[in-house]
Assembly symmetry: C2
């Protein structure tokens, strides 16, 4: 994503916890900063993207974080999928420094990032969004402003809740097909053309048949996202039993040592449930 920004002619100052990961950008002329505060001091628009909410909090509110800088960029864009409540908190703190936050979680995985075709769901002040839109377009394709700050995260939660349901359906369906002695490729073919069709059966179904659990999206990151979805649901007064079940089943997947596999590895947790397990974790 940073590479796409450089391709478009933008000067970058970069920081990564693992400096080697920034090497290709530094080789191409990006400047290195020792911490997020040093990045903040050197740019007008700051992008952040990390793994977990605590990482986001550290980048903005930590000792060497953005808000510890003598100069805070006019617009910060956090691309991490994180807690809507955390996004609001950081936005409030930035606002006091005359800055503003855009929450802009993405969808599309590593391939989408590499090819510059990510979906981006953004929330925040509309004028600030319009200003960063040309930058987002360097690595995104479907880019939507969804409303005030936090709306990007909420939209991403909708996406993950939907993905969780489809993944349960895909894995239970293919496990049934296997046990019933059907040709799973043929099953994928016919169900992909009807009312049960989904991206996951079309793209991840064939990987499951091949036993290929290589990650498009990590199990452990999906657990993080579903955990946030459940916390937010509770805050909204919602009970989402399917999302709760998906969270539990993905925790089981991770307990099987598959946290760094792709989300399609869920089928192994459901298989494990079926193979005489008593159902306790």
């Amino acid at each position: 994503m940073a590479g796409h920004l450089m391709d478009a002619g933008h000067a970058l100052t970069v920081y990564s916890r693992t400096r080697e990961k920034a090497a290709p950008l530094l080789d191409r002329g990006a400047s290195w900063a020792e911490n997020p505060a040093a990045v903040a001091a050197n740019c007008d628009i700051l992008f952040s993207m990390v793994g977990f909410p605590e990482d986001v909090e550290s980048i903005y509110l930590g000792d060497r974080g953005v808000l510890a800088s003598e100069q805070v960029p006019g617009i910060c864009v956090d691309l991490t999928t994180t807690r809507p409540s955390l996004v609001l908190k950081i936005h409030d703190r930035l606002d006091r420094h005359g800055s503003t936050l855009i929450d802009a979680p993405v969808s599309g995985g590593w391939i989408g990032a590499k090819e510059g075709v990510l979906a981006i769901m953004a929330g925040g002040e509309r004028a600030a969004f319009d200003k960063v839109l040309p930058l987002l377009k360097t690595f995104g394709r479907d880019i939507e402003w969804m409303g005030p700050i936090g709306s990007g995260q909420h939209t991403k939660m909708c996406n993950q809740i939907l993905a969780a349901g489809t993944m349960i359906g895909v894995c239970e369906s293919l496990l049934y097909a296997e046990k019933a002695g059907l040709n799973r490729e043929e099953v994928i073919g016919i169900v992909s053309r009807g009312a049960a069709a989904c991206w996951s059966i079309q793209k991840l179904g064939p990987k499951i048949v091949e036993g290929d659990y290589s990650p498009g999206f990590y199990v452990e990151h999906f657990i993080k996202d579903l955990g946030i979805a459940l916390e937010e649901s509770k805050a909204l007064g919602l009970s989402l039993p399917g999302t709760a079940l998906a969270y539990e089943l993905y925790e089981r997947t991770s307990a099987l040592g598959r946290g760094r596999d792709g989300t399609q590895a869920l089928i192994e947790a459901i298989r494990d449930l079926s193979d005489g397990s008593d159902g306790s974790a």
Copy 2:
């Protein structure tokens, strides 16, 4: 479906429990038979399609059923979604009379039937399937032979298990979007273009937004199908927690008086769970 067969020039003898439903066919020259046995006595290939397994059993094994006829058609094709074990039982009985059964459940709903574009998943003897294929083509588009008798039903179960997961995802996602104050049309738009995309969010999502629960497929028929899927799963030694949850939630949907609504009415059962219910049915 019978109309499409007549359009293709085939002479039909028909029976329906509700004679008025056959009137348009009789007006076009189809012959009326007083019971399934009388249909059987008058045809070479017999098609059946009803609602529930007990109806299928009655048509073939009942007092005035196909097997009570002095002459059993060479090939019977049951298009109902029903129990694989029942299909095997009927096949065995037909086999003793020199006949054979093709199980060929369909997908695509009333619109698919009317437009002649149903998906058809068939099981049974390959030679018999090849013989009826031209007839199936009059009302089907995606038609696949999946293997020996029962394979059509098993494939349909795969389809329904997958559909159940996607429907839970769709309904929980749109309920979250509503409570989070998002524009649901925009959410449907963006999630429909990414990794969570599915037919259900694209086609039924907008209906949910409009509060339109008119049936493409009845809740009560989906409960029947999921009940069969769970029975068969158990017989196969499988535990499918997502399918079990969907069954329970659809039972709640039906308990809300929505058995004859479309499957998208599931969102009302999940909403009901969230509105202070203690979780007991």
